[in-house]
Amino acid sequence: MSVVPERQSGGAGGTSGLYDVLELVLDRGLVIDAFVRVSLVGIEILKIDIRVVVASVDTYLRFAEACNRLDLEAGPHRSPGLPDLVGEVTESGARGKAKGALSGAAQTVTDALGQAREKGESRVRRATGSRKDKEESE
């Protein structure tokens, strides 16, 4: 679980979990008719529904590949949540396998939002290429 204490993240460089909070800053909060709202042109990236990606052919193939790698002999009939399952996942993480599709897809949007995270932060794992908008990273 990642807990982000927002009040400690307001300082320079405190951009962990930025995307998670920005959607609230952009979509929630008080709107008063007498005030004008700044145009949100240029930030449509936030509106991309990344679940579309999860239901794609690519995902099916990747799930199939991932299942092939799973060590079912380790205990297919065991109830979920046993400690050995946790150990297995930790171990596979240590071997540097790519992170899963679900959180990986979320990560893509996080990155695409515009290099929200500081350079060198270990959570940045993917480049997103074409969607990057240099200006948004200012």
Binding site: M1, S2, V4, E6, R7, G10, G11, G17, D20, V21, L22, E23, L24, V25, L26, D27, R28, G29, L30, V31, I32, A34, F35, V36, R37, V38, S39, L40, G42, I43, L46, K47, I48, I50, R51, V54, V57, T59, Y60, F63, A64, E65, A66, C67, N68, L70, L72, P76, H77, G81, L85, E88, V89, G100, L102, A105, A106, Q115, S137, E138
Partner: protein, 248 residues
């Protein structure tokens, strides 16, 4: 010069017409713009709008979104504040005062309701390997397919596609179950619960309005959920200004 509005708090200054007292705003607090504009207070109707000058051609850049959030977090240290949505701009300070005076009662009611409360946003994704293991563990047919595919070096393209689709279906079923688990576990702790904005790809995205003690329980409960259900990856954000619990 237009005025950028961050939020609305109670104005408890001895002289509402005077400048903010030292304890009311952190020294050197700045907001949107490059260079960042100094944050100040505009009072009216017993309320205080937290504002700054608005730079020309303000756009929703990362720096400015962060500044908006940071100002509200800082003000939230000493006052209950109704957070504005990003990008709220008034023609002038005078118009801000007029809006405060016109709707003072409504804003004060909301401030009373939200005093001592904070928002926590909770998102959930699955840890892929764990959830795949769970899906296979719960479905003998899928396990047999997996074994057959593996025996033939992974199976043909069509076989892998078909198998992967079945697995994806199982993952989505698990998402529905786990979403209910997370919501049922956390919701009783909160005074209010609202779905988060729909833009994201999480299978749980909920905002909770909580008292401080309840917030502690939320963190404990969330950590316990992850421990007992290792497929869950929960992202808990807070305390936040009550973005999701203000009404116009």
């Amino acid at each position: 010069m237009t005025t950028y509005v961050y939020g609305i708090a109670r104005d408890e200054r001895a002289d509402p017409a005077g400048p903010p007292e030292p304890h009311e705003l952190p020294e050197g607090l700045t907001g949107v713009g490059d260079p960042p504009r100094p944050v100040r207070v505009v009072g009216g109707g017993g309320l205080a709008a937290v504002v700054s000058d608005c730079p020309e051609r303000l756009r929703p850049k990362r720096r400015d979104l962060l500044a908006h959030q940071r100002v509200l977090a800082e003000v939230g240290r000493w006052a209950t504040v109704l957070p504005m949505r990003f990008g709220s701009v008034s023609d002038s300070d005078e118009k801000v005062r007029a809006v405060l005076a016109e709707h003072a009662e409504r804003y004060r009611e909301q401030l009373d309701r939200l005093t001592g409360r904070v928002e926590y946003n909770v998102k959930a994704v699955h840890r892929e390997e764990v959830v795949l293991h769970l899906v296979l563990a719960g479905n003998a047919e899928l396990r047999a397919l997996a074994a057959a595919n593996r025996a033939t070096g992974g199976g043909s393209y069509e076989e892998r596609l078909r198998f992967g689709e079945l697995v994806a279906h199982g993952v989505r079923e698990r998402e529905v179950r786990d979403a209910a688990l997370v919501e049922d576990s956390l919701r009783p702790l909160a005074e209010e619960c609202r779905p988060g904005p729909e833009s994201a790809g999480w299978f749980v995205n909920l905002s909770f309005l909580l008292t401080r003690p309840a917030a502690e329980r939320l963190l404990t409960t969330a950590a316990g959920l992850e421990k007992s259900h290792p497929q869950l990856d929960l992202k808990v954000h807070g305390p936040l200004p009550p973005y999701s619990f203000v009404t116009p």
